[in-house]
């Protein structure tokens, strides 16, 4: 048993996913003493590892590669169509998006590739293309608009997670629209007897010296003439510092990129690991455990630690992270803040008090009030109480705990986490907290 310990800080961040980590790093850079409390990995570790900011709402479904608008312009369009979306709620402050993305790219520099003016179009294992404003270095070479030559989808023998022929056939559809030619090949990762691998096991097995190089050589041997880049399953190492993608590409002699991941997502775990490394490097104190407390200025308990800070950033995520829970009705469990849901023009706390099952619709493409339920905030990211006033002094919220976006499916999840985390962290670093 560790003895109780009192910790004082300027800013307490609750939640260690993308939103919490970016908030803590932004507050730290602004000079604040920051403590971050986190219970476990959340949605960030389950994401594809590529950062969706704003799919262009005017893009035609069959023509994703044409929607090459820069992220801020796409986010502004989205905000005009979706008045509850955090991008719309932020008003003028949405203009900080490029700065926030540049900040994230900088603090996660070893992992993330530098952003382009346009999104990169990355391939899923199902052969579709998804725009990403920021992505990992291991994913960048797969940008469908940048491949120079044919794109080779390399399935790995013994890995059940990818049907390379299916992916290649899907990608061929984009050829008429500016995408590359796509082929499928199968390569043997050379990992010996072990028959079938799960993604995490394969990723770990590729980390030791020699393993990534052997895979690279196997890819090289399988390449057809005219190959410009190879796409492999998203299994290139769990730990960023093992540098598996770089080693595979060097041995293959051509750019190698990972496909986007489904769960369980190796690149998502890598993103979470990179966030934790950045927090440690910046001098943010991370405490492990579920936080219980009454809000800014009052002591909060995390395990045996008692943490007091005048300003808090609540970045507890949605259903996966635990920031919003279903207990009959929808609740925010840390501070008991009202959860709002919107259905068509109707919005409010009453809706969230309905049985959760009544907040889903049968039409898959229609709005799903349950999936966009969360906290309502003002333009300064201060959570609002039932009457629309800031719920507590010095309290900010960021990331998926904010309502108004379907974070896991609308293509804005990690973008919202970065922008709101950045703004909330900087606001919380200022003693006045706010303007």
């Amino acid at each position: 048993m560790v003895s109780p310990r009192a910790v004082a800080a300027d800013v307490l961040v609750v939640g260690g996913g993308m939103a919490g980590a970016i908030a803590a790093l932004a507050a730290r850079e602004a000079g604040a003493r920051v403590v971050l409390a986190r219970r476990a990995p959340g949605a960030t570790a389950l994401s594809s590892g590529a950062i969706g900011v704003a799919p262009d709402p005017l893009a035609l479904p069959g023509e994703p590669l044409r929607a090459a608008r820069e992220p801020l312009e796409a986010a502004r369009r989205l905000a005009r169509l979706r008045p509850d979306h955090p991008y719309a709620v932020l008003g003028e402050r949405l203009g900080a998006l490029p700065e926030a993305l540049a900040f994230a790219a900088r603090v996660l520099a070893p992992l993330l590739a530098p952003p382009l003016e346009r999104p990169r179009f990355l391939a899923t294992p199902f052969g579709t293309a998804v725009p990403a404003a920021l992505c990992q270095r291991s994913q960048a070479a797969g940008d469908l608009l940048a491949v120079d030559g044919a794109l080779v989808v390399a399935g790995l023998r013994g890995h059940l997670g990818l049907d390379a022929a299916l992916a290649a056939a899907g990608l061929e559809r984009y050829r008429a629209r500016g995408g590359p030619r796509a082929f499928a090949v199968e390569v043997d990762p050379g990992l010996g007897e072990v028959g079938l691998f799960r993604p995490h096991e394969l990723a770990r097995a590729l980390e030791p010296p020699g393993a990534a190089e052997a895979l690279g050589r196997a890819i090289r041997a399988a390449l057809p003439a005219g190959a410009g880049a190879a796409l492999v399953p998203p299994v290139l190492g769990l730990r960023p510092e093992a540098r598996v993608p770089e080693r595979v590409a060097a041995a293959a002699g051509i750019p190698v990129a990972e496909l986007l991941a489904d769960v369980p997502s190796v690149p998502g775990v890598r993103l979470q690991a990179a966030l934790e490394a950045a927090l440690a490097a910046a001098g943010v104190e991370v405490v492990q455990g579920a936080l219980q407390g009454a809000g800014p200025g009052k002591p909060a308990m995390v395990g045996a630690d008692e943490i007091t800070a005048p300003r808090w950033v609540l970045a507890t995520g949605r259903f996966v992270g635990g920031g919003v829970v279903r207990r009959g009705t929808l609740r925010e469990p840390v501070l008991g803040l009202p959860v709002q849901a919107a259905e068509g023009r109707e919005a409010g706390v009453d809706l969230a008090a309905r049985p959760a099952a009544s907040l889903t619709g049968a039409a898959r493409s229609g709005p799903q009030p349950l999936l966009s339920a969360g906290l309502r905030v003002d333009a300064l990211l201060r959570p609002l109480d039932g009457r629309g006033r800031p719920a507590a002094d010095g309290l900010f919220a960021a990331g998926a705990v904010l309502g108004g976006h379907e974070q896991a499916s609308d293509g804005t999840g990690l973008g919202v986490a970065i922008l709101t985390g950045y703004l909330a962290g900087r606001a919380a670093a200022r003693p006045g907290g706010g303007e």
């Binding site: 219970r39 990995p41 096991e201 996966v320 635990g322």
Partner: protein, 149 residues
């Protein structure tokens, strides 16, 4: 026709002779003992309130697989690789009759608690694994180490 008559006479024999005789001479005992005598042999043990609490805790699992990253056994032991411990309780925690299928995976758990802090939805994994393990290996079968009750 013959089979039908045979079946009916078998049922009649059970209802009129075998069952009354068994009632006359059956072992006395509490309801639980009699329930066990009748059903445990078929793999259908009684569901205790603790079992129900464990089933409820396990139902928060979203099958994300993150807990396996912290479980060294899931990498090392073939039985656990084939059936991760989280899969064991996802598949079998509510189906007592099938729980024995997960025996080797459950038996491999070292009780190290490496998994709990990795679960996004807060499933008390090591507690559930301990409970299922005790159930399938016989009461009191505690993991080698690190059991914090």
């Amino acid at each position: 026709m013959a089979t039908r008559a045979g079946a009916l006479s078998y049922l009649a024999w059970r209802a009129l002779v075998a069952h009354p005789l068994r009632r006359l001479f059956r072992r006395r005992g509490t309801g639980l003992e009699r329930f066990r005598a009748a059903y445990v042999a078929e793999g259908l043990g009684p569901t205790t309130p603790e079992d129900r609490a464990i089933g409820e805790a396990a139902s928060a699992c979203v099958a994300c697989g993150l807990c396996e990253l912290g479980c060294e056994l899931a990498v090392a032991a073939p039985a656990v690789r084939a059936l991760g411990l989280h899969a064991a309780f996802r598949l079998y925690s509510r189906s007592v009759a099938e729980l024995p299928l997960a025996t080797s995976a459950l038996a491999a758990c070292a009780g190290c608690d490496g998994c709990d802090a990795l679960c996004p939805t807060g499933v008390p994994i090591s507690r559930i694994v301990r409970h299922l393990r005790a159930k399938v290996l016989g009461e009191g079968a505690a993991p080698a180490q690190g059991d914090r009750g």
